[in-house]
Symmetry: C2
Subunit: 452 residues, 2 copies
């Protein structure tokens, strides 16, 4: 049995390790364009911040470890074509091209940073994106010589990088094209996040929202001025584009593999594409949202690991279903934890629910405890069915705890009434007698029915 | 409408406040033997420790606040009899006895500390239990003059008091009659808790397990020596009995109100007793365990609040069901968080399941984060149906997060397979790509079926 895997960050490396455990005698080959394998890209902002000195802490498995377990790793290897009719891929290494046979193929090509359409951007050396280990090392090295930075985009990566820069004393400007930062959240929650971060005690940063980075001006190899769509000019020593990612699906599309409505590779619950013996997993693959039932593309390291495992099992002949995702996320920026799961109110509306929501700001633990702080929770339900749809949380501690508490309820398709008396753990250092999540749920329940 | 409530800590005071909001014109009267109302008894160990200076921080509502909202509070009032045939209770205040009419009666008499059968114990002044605000104030005042203390019982209250004493420099001995501390947990988890606490960096305490406090010897008003069942002698300046509580049901039983198999007052989902117009809630009432379906008695402040609210609604004519509890708890002792929900393995066996479990010890967040520490998680399922039954967690941070994440799944009666790919939030400061809870769940899933 010849197993070929394209890509070796989260999904690809997880799939390789799992398949080798299931089929010790199979030939397992990984091809990656990258010069590192099996690393924690989510950890890059924490490396840049200086939480640990050696970037190698980010490496989960080395190529040598893979080789030692009998997995062949080809780094700096570009897969140019998938040829399903002949069960082969075309691999280019330097000048050399080679056809490699597969019995089962797992596509884990990941995603690439979205780059803006700015004329002449390629001429500058101080423009970065953050995706690979090299990106992280380059950004950290440049940061250490910089006084000012501009981050384009206020998604999670932009926000985490903001924390890294600000804690290193860099004067940082975040430019966000939407009117609100972290636009993944409902706009009322984005306001709360912004307010908390702006009152975090750090003052060496600013948000510019509703603005595009429309031009760059520089001196020689270095961009020195970011010019926004309203004509603002921001001086800087470096620019990092954190404006989202796009799935790497070109070779799959060319091979006749079906691409879903989200632009990622369409797979079934077994992580199989429309072509026999070809699986896709991780950031290049489309997911099903468990709450809406709709196809979504939410590229996350945690999902990539689970999908890689499931794709490997099915490729190895061991039945495994991956039901989908809830869109659960968490991120930290300057003491503020922001977390969500399920559908936001705006997403719920978009997919055809009749959303109703409740938002509370409460102490995250009993007020007499010295560590107590405020947490804001928003919960969303469908007014017609009473079905719980999702939640968003912002706070210093315990925000992600409340969001994780919702995940099982979303998996089980519970109604708000069913959850509103849930037995959450209570003790003064951990919550309040009626947990803030239950406060929110009871208000929401009353908006749906009187029997709450 | 005359509403009478007996008891005014968590359930009683919550019921009073809720009923007054629902029926502003009703007469609402509370009778309590206590000299405080509406306080956080769970906060007493934190007051004793010195987290806040004024015990009044523990008071949620004062009698004056109740009176201002039109609720009549009778403190130091002993209810001697419930007379259902005439819709009256007999109240004793000092020398005076009085019949008080009710249309609806809510019993929230709580629970009392279990006292050991030690001869002559009543003669000593330095023997305490911890239940009321006075208890807390007395223990703190005595602790400030003491060098040594003995705590009898290593349930949550005993463990929290241990933290308070140890942090105040008191040499503390905890005597536990079971072989393992915190016997609520499965014994393997108790071992882990003990190991963590004994390695917490504090050395002014010891556990004596498998020992009863069988005798006390003293000088005059003060017990000075605790003698255990194996003849050990422990010198001490004070003794606190934290050996569990028993529900206060005597007046209910005498009135013909049905007592359940657990010894607490039997109620239906509407919190009604077997007698019309009489409700019971909080620590005096029996609960239904949502996982086993069995009656249980798990007296907790969080449950008391929810039951008080629900009893009030039904008494006021607004339909409300309280489905039951999961037995979710959390406690902290010397940097260790211990938390559980659902059934332990031993409980699962006792109620007729065929339990199978998986235990993992993993980093609670990605290992390269400076704050990372180990967490031990045990998850329990039924081998025959695959149904998830419960979980236990021990760690520095994040233990309660994993337990709360299980609650929704227990409410929804999910199987292990359904939960094993749950979309929990991930980011390096919060968890690992595959959360330790999912690691445990995948091992458990494999023990049940191969399709994991």
């Amino acid at each position: 049995m010849n197993i070929v895997i394209i890509g070796a960050v989260a999904a690809g490396s997880k799939a390789a390790a799992k398949i080798k455990r299931l089929l010790p005698n199979a030939s397992v080959k990984i091809f990656t364009q990258d010069s590192h394998v099996s690393y924690s890209s989510c950890g890059l902002p924490y490396y840049i911040e200086g939480n640990f000195a050696d970037y190698r802490a980010l490496l989960v498995r080395t190529p040598e470890e893979f080789e030692a377990s009998g997995i062949n790793v080809c780094m700096n290897c570009y897969v140019d074509k998938i040829l399903p009719a002949q069960n082969e891929i075309l691999v280019c290494t330097g000048e050399k091209a080679e056809l490699v046979h597969y019995d089962k193929l797992i596509i884990a090509t990941g995603a690439s940073p979205r780059m803006p359409n700015i004329k002449g951007i390629e001429r500058y050396r101080n423009i970065y994106t953050l995706r690979t280990v090299e990106d992280g090392v380059n950004i950290r090295n440049k940061m250490l010589q910089s006084k000012r930075a501009v981050i384009i985009g206020s998604g999670y990566i932009g926000m985490e990088l903001l924390e890294s820069f600000v804690k290193n004393g860099i004067h940082t400007t975040v430019i966000e094209k939407n009117e609100k930062i972290v636009p993944l959240f409902d706009s009322d929650m984005s306001d709360i996040i912004r307010d908390r971060i702006e009152n975090s005690g750090y003052d060496n940063f600013q948000f510019l929202t509703g603005e595009l980075a429309s031009d760059l001006q520089g001196e020689g190899e270095n961009a020195r001025l970011v010019i926004t769509s309203t004509g603002k000019e921001i001086e800087t020593d470096m620019v990092v584009f954190c404006a989202g990612v796009i799935p790497n699906v070109d070779i799959a599309r060319e091979a006749g593999i079906e691409i879903g409505t989200t632009g990622a590779i369409k797979v079934n619950k077994l992580m199989r594409t429309n072509i026999e013996n070809i699986y896709a997993c991780g950031d290049c693959a489309e997911k099903t949202h468990i709450v809406s039932g709709h196809p979504v593309w939410i590229p996350l390291g945690s999902t990539a690991n689970k999908e890689g495992r499931c794709a490997a099992m099915n490729a190895a002949g061991v039945y495994c279903e991956f039901d989908g995702v809830l869109g659960s996320t968490v991120s930290r920026c300057l003491k503020t934890t922001m977390s969500m799961t399920g559908l936001t109110e705006k997403e719920a509306l978009k997919v055809g629910f009749t959303p109703v929501s409740a938002t509370v700001t409460k102490s995250d633990m009993v007020g007499y405890m010295p560590e107590a702080g405020d947490i804001t929770l928003k919960v969303v339900a469908d007014k017609i069915t009473g079905l719980l749809l999702g939640g968003q949380a912002v706070g210093t501690v315990g925000a992600d705890k409340r969001i994780n508490a919702l995940t099982g309820a979303l998996l089980g398709h519970l109604t708000v009434a069913e959850f509103s008396n849930n037995d959450l753990t209570y003790s003064p250092p951990y919550s309040t007698t009626i947990d803030p999540l239950l406060n929110a749920m009871q208000i929401l329940c009353t908006k749906i029915s009187n029997r709450c």
